[in-house]
C-alpha cells in the first residue's frame, strides 16, 4: 500500500489483506494514466464519439424569468449516452481495465444508471459483466434492470442487509475478493478505498472543466454558485472540481427524504444524524448508531440513498470549502414538475435534488448573478416512481391493462 489517499481526516484504504495487491495494481494503472497526457486525450475522444461530449450548458430562460433572481444554467449530463454522468466514470475505468488486461467487470448500482453504463461499456469493450443491485432497487428501477440484461449483463439482486446501494457494494466486494485476477470492480462513485475517490473524481472532472469553459464563453464571467446532488458524491465532485480555485460557492444537495429531523433521510453532511466511521474500506461520515452499525436510509431516489459519502466532500464540508443542504422527497417532486413544464427538460429524481436546492435560493440572488445546476441524469428511468408520486390515473390504467394482457 503506497499512497493511502487521505483528505484531511477522511479517506484511507481499510482493505482486507486479500485485496491489497489488487489495489496496488489499480493504483499503478491510475498513476500511469494520470501522468500520460495521451490517456486523457484518448478518453476525451472516446467520450466525444460515444457519449455526446462536451455536453451542452443550457440557459434555463423560463425558470430564470419565473424566479426573477440569478440566471440559471443547466449542465446537461443527462445527454450522455445512457442518460447520466455515470458514463464518464465508467468509460474511463473501462480504458484502465483494458490496460490492466482484465476480462470481466463487476459493479454495484442503486438507481441502475451506473449499472446500465457499466453494462454498455462491457458490451463495447468485450468484457463479461455482473451487476449487483439491492432487491429494493431492482423493484423501483425495473426499466434499468431490463436494459442491463438486454445489454448482456447478469444482474444479481442483493437480498442481504437493507437491500439497497450499500448492500450491493458489499456484494461486489465479496465477488472481487474471489475473482480479482480476472475482474475489475467498477465502483460507481467517489467513495470506497483509495484510489477510488480520487480516480472517480478525476474522470468526472470532465464535467467541471467543460462547464467552466462554457460559462466563460457564454457569459464572460464565472457563476456565483454551482449546485449538484450528492449521493456518493461523484457528479458533485465532477462539477466542483472545475471551480475549486475560483470565488464560486459550491453547494451539494443531499437526500432529505421525509425531512432531516424525521430519521428517514440520507443526509450525511447536513444533518446531525451522521458521524465519522469506517466501512466499505474508507473513513467518512456515515449514518450509523452509537455502536457503529449502519442505519437504514431513505430517499425517493435510489441513487442518493447511501449511508456514506465521498471522503473528499467530508473534508470539504469540515473545512467549509463547500456547503451542504438537503431537499425532501416532496420538494424534489415539485422541482421536477416545474423543470419539466417550464423547460421541457426531465431531470432524474437524483438530479432534481440539485434543482430543488437551487430553486430555494435563486430568488435571493441578484440578476447579475449566475448559477449552474448539474443535471446529473435524465428522468426516464424514474417513470414508475414519478407516476406514483404524481398519482397519475391514466398511467395506473395502462399498467392494469398491461398486466391483464400478460395474464391472457
Amino acid at each position: 500500500m503506497k499512497n493511502r489517499g487521505y483528505y484531511g481526516n477522511y479517506g484511507g484504504a481499510f482493505l482486507p489483506e486479500i485485496l491489497v495487491a489488487t489495489f496496488d495494481e489499480l493504483e499503478d494503472a491510475f498513476e500511469n494514466a494520470k501522468s500520460d497526457p495521451s490517456f486523457w486525450r484518448t478518453y476525451e475522444t472516446l467520450m466525444a464519439s460515444y457519449s455526446c461530449r462536451p455536453t451542452p450548458l443550457t440557459f434555463a430562460e423560463n425558470l430564470t424569468r419565473k424566479f426573477g433572481g440569478a440566471k440559471i444554467y443547466i449542465k446537461r449530463e443527462d445527454l450522455n449516452h445512457t442518460g447520466a454522468h455515470k458514463a464518464n466514470n465508467v468509460m474511463g475505468q473501462g480504458l484502465l481495465v483494458k490496460k490492466m488486461g482484465k476480462k470481466r467487470v463487476i459493479a454495484e448500482t442503486g438507481a441502475g444508471q451506473h449499472g446500465v453504463a457499466t453494462a454498455t461499456m462491457a458490451a463495447k469493450f468485450g468484457f463479461e459483466c455482473t451487476i449487483y443491485m439491492g432487491e429494493v432497487d431492482v423493484m423501483r428501477q425495473r426499466p434499468n434492470v431490463f436494459w442491463m440484461e438486454q445489454l448482456g449483463a447478469t444482474v444479481v439482486p442483493v437480498t442481504d442487509g437493507t437491500r439497497i446501494l450499500k448492500d450491493a457494494i458489499n456484494e461486489a466486494f465479496r465477488d472481487w475478493v474471489t475473482n480479482m485476477d480476472t475482474t475489475h470492480y467498477v465502483l460507481g462513485t467517489a467513495c470506497g478505498p483509495h484510489p477510488f475517490p480520487e480516480m472517480v473524481s478525476w474522470f468526472q472532472s470532465i464535467i467541471g472543466k467543460e462547464a467552466r469553459k462554457q460559462i466563460l464563453e457564454i457569459e464572460g464571467k464565472l457563476p456565483s454558485r454551482v449546485y449538484a446532488c450528492v449521493g456518493g458524491g461523484s457528479n458533485a465532485m465532477g462539477l466542483f472540481s472545475g471551480f475549486r480555485d475560483d470565488p464560486v460557492e459550491l453547494v451539494g444537495v443531499e437526500a432529505g427524504g421525509h425531512g432531516v429531523n424525521s430519521g428517514m433521510h440520507a443526509s450525511r453532511l447536513c444533518s446531525k444524524d451522521a458521524s465519522p466511521g469506517i466501512a466499505q474500506g474508507y473513513k467518512t461520515y456515515f449514518l450509523q448508531d452509537g455502536d457503529g452499525q449502519m442505519k437504514e436510509t431513505h430517499s425517493i431516489s435510489a441513487g442518493l440513498d447511501y449511508v456514506g459519502v465521498s471522503p473528499i466532500l467530508s473534508d470539504m464540508h469540515e473545512k467549509g470549502l463547500a456547503r451542504f443542504e438537503s431537499a425532501t422527497d416532496d420538494e424534489v417532486v415539485d422541482a421536477l414538475r416545474l423543470t419539466m413544464t417550464h423547460e421541457g427538460i426531465i431531470p432524474a429524481l437524483e438530479s432534481a435534488h440539485a434543482f430543488a436546492g437551487a430553486f430555494r435560493e435563486v430568488s435571493s440572488l441578484s440578476k447579475d448573478d449566475i448559477i449552474i445546476i448539474n443535471q446529473s441524469g435524465r428522468g426516464d428511468k424514474d417513470i414508475f416512481t414519478v407516476a406514483d408520486a404524481f398519482d397519475d390515473p391514466k398511467w395506473k390504467q395502462f399498467i392494469i391493462g398491461k398486466a391483464k394482457s400478460y395474464n391472457g
Partner: protein, 258 residues
Amino acid sequence: MAESLKLQLYIKERLKKREILLMTHIVMGYPSFDASYEIVEQMVEAGVDLMELQIPFSEPMADGPVILKANQKAIDNGSTVEKCLEFAEKVASDFPIPFLFMSYANILYRYGMEKFAAKMAEINLQGSIVPDLPPEEGQDYIEAMKKRQLDPIYIFSPTTSDERLGYLASFASGFVYCLARKGVTGKDTSFSDDLALYLSRCRKATDLPLAVGFGVKEKADVDYLKGKADIAVIGSQTIRVVEESGSRAAGDFIRSVL
C-alpha cells in the same frame, strides 16, 4: 514496545501434546446469547484450544453468506457491543482457554481504540482479529494493544508478496492467521500443493505459530494441515452445524474433526 508472549507460549505448550490445535468462531448473540454460551461450553469440553468471538457488524465485507447472515440476525436480535463485551467477560472467566475478539474496524473505532484495548485487558481477552484494519491504518490500534500485552492478530493471504508478509509479520504477535484461499468465509477450499507452497512461504516470513482458516470444515482438512500449520480454524461450518442440529451438536462436531 513489550511483546506479548502469553498466547504464543500457550500455543507452543499445547502443541507439545497435539499435532495441530483447533480454533473456532462464533458470532456473539447468534442465534442468542444463551445459545452462544452453550456452544462455547460444548466446544471447550470437546477440546477446542482457542476461540474467536465475533462482535457483529452490519457491513461484514470479508464474510461470506453464512457468517454475514449470522451477523445480521445477531444485530436484529439486539446483540450490542456492550452485551458482547459482557458475554466475552463471562466466557473468559468461566472457561480455561484463550479467547480473541474478531470484528471490523468501525466497531473498535467507534468504541475508541484505547478504550477498547483497555476493556480487552480488563476482561481477559488475549487479542483481536480485525480484517479491515491493515497496519498502515492501524497504528493507534497496534500501540493500544501492545501497551497492554494484547495480540493484534494479522492476516496473511495467498496474494500477499513475500516482502509484505515480512512487513505484516513485523507487527504481528500471538500467531498469524493465514487465509487458505481467496474469497470470503464459508466457501470450499481445495487443500492442494498450492496451499502447501503458500504455507511454506508464510512459515519463512515469521516464527509465530500459523493458523489456517477459510474452508476448513472436516477431519480430512484438519489432517491435511498437520505438519504444515499449527492451528486449524473452523468458522462457517460450526455455524452451519448449529443451524442444522442446534447448539448441542457443536461438541460432537468438534470431536468428529479432531
